[in-house]
């Protein structure tokens, strides 16, 4: 296969994996026999991985109340702005529901952290976090969102918020909305010709050679 054929086979733009897989099937290549019981077989996946994902997706970890709290927090962390939508627009809460089942180490800190937040909010404003006013919610977030200046007794909240922020960023920037926002423009067949000339000039790297 020469480069032109391979790029043709890959489809030059707007690649969808299904097209790619079909295009790459060569007549002489043996494919896995499609036995009926293996109809769920996915290329490049071991059966135990497929079964595990299916099982996790069928389970529910967070309660409705917990999911509502996660949604409010996620949208405080990544709100809609001029460039892109919010965390919930990118279905970040659904991602968090999946990932705590996938990586169970998240479960106790997330469940406990949400509870900590509700208790703290209730003591302060006599309401659980989701029912507090926006100003009240932000006033609490301000107490746990800055690890270095947070009061020592807020440490449990800080630890929880760090995790929540990381999961929100993971969930948001790995969606189409997030990838577009951050400006990642790769993952497509191309010819790498080196750093563009204007960028080399910007950083004074025109004469650096390896």
């Amino acid at each position: 296969m020469n480069r032109r054929d391979s790029l043709k086979a890959l489809g030059l733009t707007a690649i969808s994996t299904t097209i790619l897989l079909d295009a790459c099937k060569q007549p002489e290549t043996k494919t896995e026999a499609a036995a009926p019981e293996e109809s769920a077989k996915e290329a490049g996946r071991e059966q135990w991985e497929i079964d595990r994902d299916k099982k996790l997706k069928a389970e529910t970890f967070f309660t409705k109340h917990e999911m509502a709290t996660i949604t409010v927090l996620a949208d405080i962390i990544i709100p809609k702005d001029d460039v892109s939508g919010s965390a919930s627009d990118a279905k970040v809460p659904e991602f968090i529901e999946f990932i705590v089942k996938d990586i169970p180490e998240h479960q106790v800190p997330m469940r406990g952290g949400l509870k900590w937040l509700d208790v703290y909010c209730f003591n302060k404003f006599q309401k659980p976090f989701v029912e507090a006013s926006e100003d009240q919610q932000i006033s609490i977030v301000d107490e746990i969102a800055y690890p270095k200046k947070a009061r020592p007794e807020m440490q449990a909240g800080v630890t929880f918020f760090n995790r929540m922020r990381n999961l929100t960023a993971s969930g948001f920037y790995t969606t189409e909305i997030g990838v577009k926002d951050i400006g990642y423009v790769g993952n497509a067949p191309n010819q790498w010709a080196g750093v563009p000339a204007d960028v080399l000039k910007q950083y004074g790297m025109e004469n650096v050679k390896v």
């Binding site: 890959l10 790459c24 490049g44 990544i78 991602f95 690890p147 922020r165 993971s170 790995t174 400006g183």
Partner: protein, 578 residues
């Protein structure tokens, strides 16, 4: 249990090859092309990068967004395997923490590796410091085979004329990325040489090959390549060997032992089929082990008979000993100069664009041998963990208004920070020579079997002062390079309490040395052609035969030695010696 039986095949192959990775793949390729009837047994399942690669998938196509929950190098990584396999345990001795990575698939670990393809040099084969045993062969003996591997598989790089980093037959190299230019400048100020990387990725069409296409720069070699633009044993060796009509491959064949005749010669291999759990026995005139350094040692140690009471090829008692994996330690951070950088596609290729070969003279240092440095950074595809450091980094440098701000945060200002810091990441890791020691070994654990009833390996491995001081030197060097390039370090500073960030043995997945070659049958298992001293029709073609690795990744040497062994077999067959 009444229907228990061992299914014996009447066919006698010219050779049985165990394992389909770099070593097994190359041996099968050479023999099958020479007309030998070869049977290959692979413990894992079938895998063809063209069909099975996750290349060009987006993070949202993985429910875990590429996290390493089920695959240690991420959800899109090619490897069916990891450091832990269900039902296939290994054990430790004396508080060892050796970690053993296994890929159960056609092509083995070559499907996901970094494609960094370095030759060992003259000093690696014949060390001048006298600290470790010399190989029974020299660089000059292996050079013709390195050359042939270069031409056959394809490798990019630049001729540098460095004595112990021998040049190969190179295709054009990839251009450096922006962060790599910063590294080059900073490293030079720190006194560290940086040269073009060397990798088995086709940057040009491979002459006389219609199966493989050149790289299209997605940077995803770890997922394996649908157009076979990089080296995997599955795509470059095994599949072409099957096409000759001379190679038969049986997958899901977990080898139990090598069967020997009364006179001690190998006559076949017994294996359990992982799917139907039935026992099988196949016969061959030769047995060639390429199951990986540790797995081949395990098979030999488990192949006990009256003529080989200590395990096959083990009258010397060295099988399993001298196990060594490359050292590894790293530092990472970010380049504040690159904040708010212009976006463009800099995926490049999926091996290294640049690296630093070992550059110092050990006479002036407090540890032997050395390490090379691999670098990373730039505008990569987001995956699970993305932006994890931003809430610390945004307190380390001034904000848009020029004022320092509090680390952490949320909302529109944090969202802006994710954009500002994107693509500023930079880091480096050392891969160094670990000394081959008799006291570091794997052996059969008499008390433990895997789910197939095969006795498992038990590891005994300790890093010594030599490796720890090397890691200390790595840390000092990396911090100095980071400083000279104006980077901010975000990884933890490692000290004596953590052995300077030296990773557990096995973590670098360069384990070698368990079935060492040598001229003296009392001190080695194999002769200089990787033929067992005790059993003339038994060969080992993985990293087991290594006497002592350099700081170079093992794969290119595995392939050169395997090709050399296969050609030796053909020559000996012609002379009717085996």
């Amino acid at each position: 249990m009444s229907d228990f039986q061992i299914k014996k095949s009447p066919t006698v192959y010219d050779a049985i090859v165990v394992g389909s990775g770099a070593g097994g793949g190359m041996a099968a390729y050479v023999l099958a092309h020479a007309g030998q009837k070869v049977l290959m047994l692979e413990a894992g399942q079938n895998f063809d990068p063209r069909l099975d690669s996750h290349q060009l998938k987006w993070p949202w196509e993985s429910p875990r967004r590429g996290a390493g929950t089920v695959r240690p190098f991420g959800d899109f990584d090619a490897s069916y395997g990891g450091w832990e396999l269900e039902g296939e345990p290994y054990t430790q001795k004396n508080k060892s923490e050796f970690e053993w990575f296994r890929s159960r698939m056609l092509g083995g670990r070559t499907n996901h590796w970094g494609r960094i393809s370095l030759r060992m040099g003259p000093d690696d084969f014949k060390p001048k410091d006298g600290l470790t045993d010399a190989w029974p062969i020299t660089y000059a003996d292996v050079k013709p085979f390195y050359d042939k591997v270069d031409r056959m598989i394809g490798i990019y790089g630049t001729a540098e004329g460095l004595e112990n980093e021998p040049d190969g037959i190179f295709m054009k190299p990839p251009k450096p990325r922006l962060n790599e230019l910063f590294i080059k400048k900073g490293a030079e100020k720190a006194g560290v040489k940086v040269i073009t990387g060397r990798g088995s990725v086709l940057t040009e069409a491979l002459p006389n090959n219609n199966d493989r296409a050149p790289c299209f720069y997605c940077g995803q070699c770890g997922r394996s390549c649908k157009v076979y633009g990089d080296f995997s044993s599955s795509s470059c060796l095994v599949n072409p060997a099957v096409k000759t009509g001379n190679l038969t491959v049986i997958t899901d064949a977990m080898v139990r032992e090598v069967i020997t005749d009364k006179d001690g010669t190998a006559k076949g291999v017994s294996y359990v089929n992982r799917k139907d759990l039935q026992e099988y026995q196949v016969n061959g005139k030769l047995v060639i082990l390429g199951a990986s350094a540790c797995e081949s040692a395990r098979i030999l140690l488990n192949s006990k008979s009256t003529s080989h009471p200590n395990g096959l090829a083990n009258s010397s008692g060295v099988v399993g000993k001298y196990l060594h994996d490359s050292t590894g330690a790293s530092v990472s951070g970010f380049l504040p100069q690159l904040m708010d950088r212009k976006r463009y596609n800099e995926d490049g290729l999926g091996s290294v664009h640049i690296y630093s070969p070992w550059w110092l003279d050990n006479r002036k240092l407090n540890f032997p041998r050395g390490y090379h440095i691999e670098y990373w950074g730039g505008m990569g595809m987001p995956a699970y963990g993305f932006g994890g450091g931003v809430a610390q980094m945004n307190g380390m440098v001034p904000g848009r208004d020029g004022k320092m701000k509090e680390a952490g945060g949320y909302g529109k200002s944090l969202k802006d920070d994710y954009r500002r810091f994107y693509g500023t990441g930079v880091g480096m890791a050392g891969r160094g020579t670990a000394i081959a020691r008799e006291s570091n070994y794997c052996e059969i654990d008499p008390n433990t079997v895997d789910k197939y009833g095969i006795p498992v390996l038990r590891f005994n491995y300790k890093w010594d002062k030599d490796e720890i001081l090397q890691a200390k030197h790595m840390q000092e060097t990396f911090l100095s390079i980071m400083k000279e390039m104006g980077a901010v370090v975000t990884s933890e500073i490692q000290g004596a309490d953590t052995n300077y960030g030296l990773l557990n043995p096995g973590k670098i997945i360069h384990e070698v040395g368990t079935i060492r070659m040598g001229d003296d049958p009392k001190k080695s298992a194999l002769n200089k052609y990787c033929q067992a001293h005790d059993c003339k029709n038994l060969f080992v073609v993985d990293a087991g035969p290594f006497v002592q690795q350099g700081d170079k990744n093992a794969t290119w040497t595995i392939m050169a030695l395997s090709m050399r062994t296969a050609e030796y077999i053909l020559a000996q067959k012609k002379k009717q010696n085996i």
